[in-house]
Amino acid sequence: MDKKRREFLKIAGISTLAGLGAPAVVDRLVSGVSPLAARAAVEVQPGGHGAESQAPAEHGAEVVPTGKQYGMVIDVRKFIAQPGLADECIKACNVSHNIPQFPDPKDEIKWIWLTGHENAFPDNSQYHLSETMENNQVLVLCNHCANPPCVRACPTKATFKDKNGIVAMDYHRCIGCRFCMAACPYGSRSFNWRDPRDPQGGLDMNNLNRLFPTRMRGVVEKCNFCVERLGRGEEPACVAATGGSKAMVFGDLNDPDSEIRQVLKQNYTVQRKPSLGTKPSVFYII
């Protein structure tokens, strides 16, 4: 009698554990998102990029609990019209985030930078480009993908989608394996090959932006859409640097009434390497 009871309790205990654990495990393995996010996706059902607001979330896209997805439209025409404006943006970012400028390209750290049109859009036709385009330099930065391969690759969740859909970094958790750098199809990530506070990096230690930390060597970093400025109710530093020119428009892609959605509705825009299914949140008006 006693033995039977023990057997029963054993089986009951194991089944309960399995019952409790299995859905959580399956959830994680199947979708690769936290159960919370998965639930939010079902409840909120915000539109993916370009989709009508009430359309269900596109498959594979990770939808954050708030349903927000910050994004950016870069109007290349306005940057062509205002030479030097792009450099202002880069400078604003560098100052705002205490980014060192090492002379050796091997040590380079870039959050937002200029690259050739064909480098930014290698999949687009480069055949007999207009002369303006051929010589034009385009601003590139982290795309804050709705379906980011870097977040998938990170073994410690040091890079993650935050509550606004921003692909953020935890510099204190990153182990420096650089799997995210291999995973990023846009080359948006930089690694601190050496101490970023080293004098060679040109950071003026007495004149740092105290509102954003300097990093340490051995961790990966990249554009964070100025999440620290957004928290204070300010625009990203690069957007602020464009002044009122609207060369960069920043906002919530999932809010149908946002300015960025109006810009997307009124203009033909392109994304970088859309065929990879990463759903980049940075759009370009060429």
Binding site: G32, I109, C154, P155, I175, C177, R178, F191, V219
Partner: protein, 389 residues
Amino acid sequence: MFEKALKGNNNYWMWLGFLGTFMAIGAICYIRQFNYGLGLTGMSRDVSWGLYISNFTFLVGVAAGGVMLVLPYYVHNYKVFGRITILGEFLAIAALTMCLMFIIADLGQPIRALNVLLHPTPNSMLFWDMIVLNGYLFLNIICGWVILTAERKQVKPPKWVYIFVYISIPFAISIHTVTAMLYCGLPGRHFWLSAIIAPRFLASAFAAGPALIVFVSLILKRVAHFDAGREATNKMVTIILYAALINAFFVMLEFFVGYYSQIPGHMHTLQYLFFGLEHHGHVYNNLVPFMWGFVVLTLTGFTLLAIPYTRRNDFWLAIGSAALFIGLWLDKGIGFVLGGFVPSPLEEITEYYPTFNEIMITIAVWCTGFFILTVLYKIAVGVEHEVEA
């Protein structure tokens, strides 16, 4: 059983001393890297993995290769491999130790390595790689040690150990499959984004691992009077030949897909690796000699192992298996990982040149592996002799 490793002739101690010297130099180099950062290596923003990860990838294969001895013996009861399965298991231990050392050497923040356990992330392939590599290491330590102890006492190994032996077989496949998945699941890296990577890794592993065992067993025959036996050697050579052939076949399939489809992304890296890639008037080709080295060494090794005359001659057999091993290292331990970063996601080309410090650390890790291998094989051979006496 460790006492067997503490008694040896002059050659044994000189060999260990030789390896130890390089290990010491490498340790100093690693301290330098630890203090300065990975900037002491040749890696850069564009080529963000270098010698450490490429050698890691190759050595996972060497570790998995041991299963080619374990499987025939335990699953198909192929008795001839009885004497040498322990060599496969101990090789796996040495190779996996090297793998883990290479990973640690490559981390920007090695003291945070345990974050992988503190914050387990099932959607990262690196998390699974950590699990299968450590699992396979653990399994090989258990199986190798228990079975060798039983042999020494001249009793049958305990039944429970066979559970671990049988689990270790799919684990061997899994370590290299998951290692391939580190690469083949990344969007935007065309050279790696191929479903044939995992099978190709396995094929090259099943050639490289046994090739090393054949080579080492020929050395053991000379220096330790340990004879693997002609039949066992011949069977291993057969396995090596088929595996190397399949690997070559897979490489050629990659060429077909790239050059017949004419999709630039699928051709660029192959072009860069084998012929040199022209970009803005400059031809980038620093890996070309290595890849043709791979072709030549594979052909040489294959021929020496395939022709009955050279196969029966211990000298040529040793040269042939060494040639194949080095050839496969050039393919996977150099070309595959480094080539995958060219061109960069922004279609720029940065070539990678390892630094002296980095090369010394790499050599030191290899020496540590061979140090462990020597000690383990010394123990295994010692037990073998004791039983025979």
